[in-house]
């Protein structure tokens, strides 16, 4: 094992220990805040597979987040017996929606792709907004009944913030591992080659649309994971989950943290909630500060906070190495 790999393994271990210990040292409010950060972290990571790795800016990603949230919530208010199965069905519904939306959207590029996904996202929004008998219209679905989570003989009460924290943490870690595996596979390399130069990638015999669609569906799937968990976390699903302004949130987190480093979106989610948390202590009007922070970030941190810091470190290290030679 060389130095950098050992350092990474140590860092991962430290993060795991921190995740495991935190709920025992902080209060309930902080536990819920971290839970929400992890859920939105999953959402932002899913978005970034499409944006950072495939080069497609989706402005309708809240559709998949919301579809899964609604399906999960719908099942759980109708006394569905299994929480995990409800989450799974919600996530599959999101993936199905992503197949349909992706099939049409991946034909387009850049701004046209962004606008078309925004349009599809708003179609889903109007659907849940108008289909009162099933979705509850603008009130949404409330009053979720949480069945206890049975694994073997073990039965876990999900309604306590601490146990739900651990469930979300497991999903968070699984999402990270699966997405890491994906972006480091040859499949991930092909996605990045499409991002860098679509024409050249096509000349090497890559079916651009098929790869983009695959990326889109995987991305929609994990957005669904986040959406289902969020509905359980909030005990409700509301139309605002699918509005285009909700689609903007993973975009903001990703750009805040850095789109070209894997953990950028997670750092972005932490920053996003930290900013919200600190500012809402003083005033409800916090978006103005988020905007005021976002603007200089876009101007001065072209690769996001984590991305720019890492490039800077790399440059410094290279400069030192050159000095030694």
């Amino acid at each position: 094992m060389n130095g950098s790999a050992r350092k990474k393994a140590l860092l991962a271990f430290a993060a795991l220990v921190l995740l495991g210990v935190l709920p025992f040292v902080v209060g309930t409010y902080s536990i819920m805040l971290i839970t929400e950060i992890m859920i939105m972290g999953i959402f932002a990571l899913s978005f970034n597979l499409l944006f950072g790795y495939t080069g497609l800016l989706s402005f309708g990603h809240a559709a998949f987040f919301g579809v899964s949230g609604y399906v999960t919530a719908f099942l759980l208010i109708h006394d569905f017996p299994s929480l995990l199965l409800a989450l799974l069905l919600g996530t599959l519904a999101a993936a199905l929606a992503a197949i349909v939306v992706g099939y049409f959207s991946v034909r387009l590029d850049e701004i046209y792709f962004a606008i078309l996904t925004l349009g599809f996202g708003m179609m889903f929004y109007t659907l849940v907004h108008q289909w009162r008998s099933v979705t509850g219209g603008s009130d949404g679905l409330t009053g979720l009944v949480l069945p206890s989570l049975g694994i073997g003989k073990l039965s876990i009460d999900v309604s306590s913030p601490k146990s739900f924290y651990f469930i979300v943490a497991v999903f968070f870690i699984i999402t990270i591992l699966v997405l890491l595996r994906i972006v480091r596979s040859s499949f991930g390399l092909i996605l990045m080659s499409i991002r860098e130069n679509k024409e050249r990638a096509a000349f090497t015999g890559i079916n651009i649309r098929a790869y983009r669609l695959a990326s889109f569906v995987i991305s929609g799937f994990f957005a669904g994971v986040a959406g289902g968990l969020f509905a359980v976390f909030d005990r409700m699903a509301s139309p605002s989950m699918l509005h285009w302004t909700a689609s903007a949130e993973p975009v903001l987190m990703t750009v805040l943290g850095g789109a070209h480093v894997f953990f950028g979106p997670v750092i972005g989610a932490i920053l996003f909630f930290f900013i919200e948390h600190v500012i809402t202590k003083f005033t409800d009007i916090w978006m103005i500060f988020l905007g005021a922070i976002l603007i200089p970030l876009v101007i001065f941190f072209p690769d996001g906070v984590l991305g720019t810091l890492m490039t800077r470190r790399k440059k410094m290290r290279e400069a030192r190495r050159e000095g030694e030679e």
Binding site: Y112, F120, T126, Q130, L252, G291, I295, V298
Partner: protein
Amino acid sequence: MSLFFMNFLNGISLGMLLFLISIGLTIIFGVLGVLNFAHGSLYMLGAYFCFQIVSLSHNFWGALILAPVVVALVGGVIESMLLRPVYGRDVSFQLLLTFGVLLVLDDAVRLIWGSGYHIVDPPPLLNGVVHLGGFTYPVYSLFILFLGPFIGLGLWAFFRFTLWGKKIRASSMDREMAAGIGINVNHLFTGVFMFGTWLAGVGGALAAPLRAIGPSMGEKIIIESFIVVVIGGLGSFPGAFLGAMILGLINAYGAQYLPKATMALPYILLAIILLTKPRGLLSKET
């Protein structure tokens, strides 16, 4: 029949407003290459400034002149201080930057004027209704309806015959070539952005007596104007006109015939047009 005709008028007058806002959006995109997410917020700012000036001076016409100018000044600041550093970057960064501006403007409005709704009365001259064989119609809506074509013609003449109009068209066709033949692109960009935001401000001030003025009015209109410019063809002036009329009429007739689906119709239309004509109805590229 009279309901049909009334919806036609509603659709066209809504289309005129959308046209004013979208034409600014499309000019800015055509010349600067930036899709301005904050455009709806600048429209909203126009309505709020109009409200503020009217409630201070009770002079609607003065507000209609002054409010858009103030909006244009805000636009000038945004372009020269914020947008200029990111022109060379990826399109998504510009989108995000203008999204940051949107967040700031929307909450600034809440901070200054509160979250409630405000109302501006039409000027006395245009207050009241007229009888149009079978139904009554607000005079102010008719005013918008007749004003629209004049503004459209004025813009057309401006782009066709004035030096500035020609410079703008030249730069929207080929930015580098325009710079090469001695057009000061920096000044032009600021000018075009201010002009576009001025149009958004005019739209907002004109809309003030028509709609309740609230902090979410920008959020809705920006998506509608995105749809207008995309279905018409990004950067195309006739396209923006066509798109605005189509969207206005769809909204009006949708409310009459398909009340449940009317919210979704613009998005369905957007998807169909993007998938069959990816560059919009009236674009020159294929």
